[in-house]
Assembly symmetry: C2
Homo-oligomer: 200 residues x 2
């Protein structure tokens, strides 16, 4: 005797494979899908299939794209001489949401992590070096998290690119709205190290 009828059990099982979805959430989502009209279920299933089939990566910057070259690379109203290097497409999305950055991107597809068997060859680093060496790039901004793997990757990529262009990295310090008293020591040390003169 199972608690769920077979097709429902299969749906719950599939939903549970999604990140952050446990048994209770999977059950709630599945029962919701069963309650809504069939058109809704079809729209969801179709969106899943179409996204997976149509979205690949941009051949220039490796950001997620439904076209061979992504919208950002094709955009003529963006600064073409600045490239922001990130680990993942998720980071491009986060940076785009700030509406502060108007240059181009390059997605590495991960971070160097010998422990996980990920070396520079598994990442889109050679393509980045080619891009920077062949084009007139004025600045490469490394926007990579300050983890062990992030530091390794930042140093490795930075050294490769230095012969061709100016290489910078994003600032680390106290987050906005963060309370100094509760910041961890490494963040505080970074914030001190990155101090700048006040514009008065």
């Amino acid at each position: 005797m199972t608690v769920y009828t077979r097709p429902l059990a299969r749906l719950i099982e599939q939903l549970q494979r999604l990140p952050g979805v446990g048994p209770k959430t999977a059950q709630r989502l599945a029962l919701h899908i069963l309650k809504r009209p069939e058109a809704d279920a079809q729209a969801l299933a179709q969106a899943i299939l179409e996204a997976k089939q149509q979205v690949g990566v941009c051949s220039v910057c490796f950001h997620l794209s439904a076209e061979p070259v992504c919208e950002i690379c094709r955009a003529t109203n963006r600064e073409p001489h600045v490239i922001c290097v990130v680990a993942d497409s998720r980071d491009v999305i986060a940076l785009e949401k700030t509406r502060e950055y108007r240059g181009k991107y390059h997605v590495l597809g991960g971070l160097i992590s010998p422990m996980d068997g990920i070396g520079p060859d598994q990442l889109n680093i050679a393509q980045l070096v080619r891009r920077v060496s062949k084009q007139d790039i004025k600045e490469v901004i490394l926007a990579i998290s300050p983890s062990v793997e992030g530091e390794t990757t930042t140093l490795y990529v930075g050294q490769l690119l230095k012969p061709f262009t100016k290489v910078t990295r994003i600032a680390f310090g106290l987050p906005m709205g963060g309370d100094l008293e509760y910041a961890d020591e490494v963040t505080l040390a970074r914030a001190l190290e990155g101090r700048r003169e006040l514009d008065l």
Copy 2:
């Protein structure tokens, strides 16, 4: 300029229609689906479609079922003379998980709620009365939440069934592990009201 490529935006939009899934969760789920192999996306889409197409309700008890009569109603090793009445299939699943109940069920499909335009005729109440009046039912257990709508439904259904059989309702009181000090007054009042003599 949109932050997401079109098919990705559509997938995020569809995922956001699920309960408890906000923009951030939808983005995380969508990017996960894009990262995994295509077979995974197909399995998920298929599970959604099949569940929606194959799962209807049992013609006897109205619990979710992929067969005309559900597994619980067909089971010969369950007490056929006791019916537990619940608002929703979700409640059947919750009760089945306790493994304490061995009788049959009847799913009303909601609660009487004049404010939402839901009267007794929109629920599976007539079918319940028919079931109880025509079969040899020894007890009907009303397992309905103690909300305003739940109380109304409990009283309404209870009065209809009383001529035919014994009608009981589940106990309300302090939840297990609950702290008396933090229980709300209504729960405490119910717990007092439902007190029983200690078996010593």
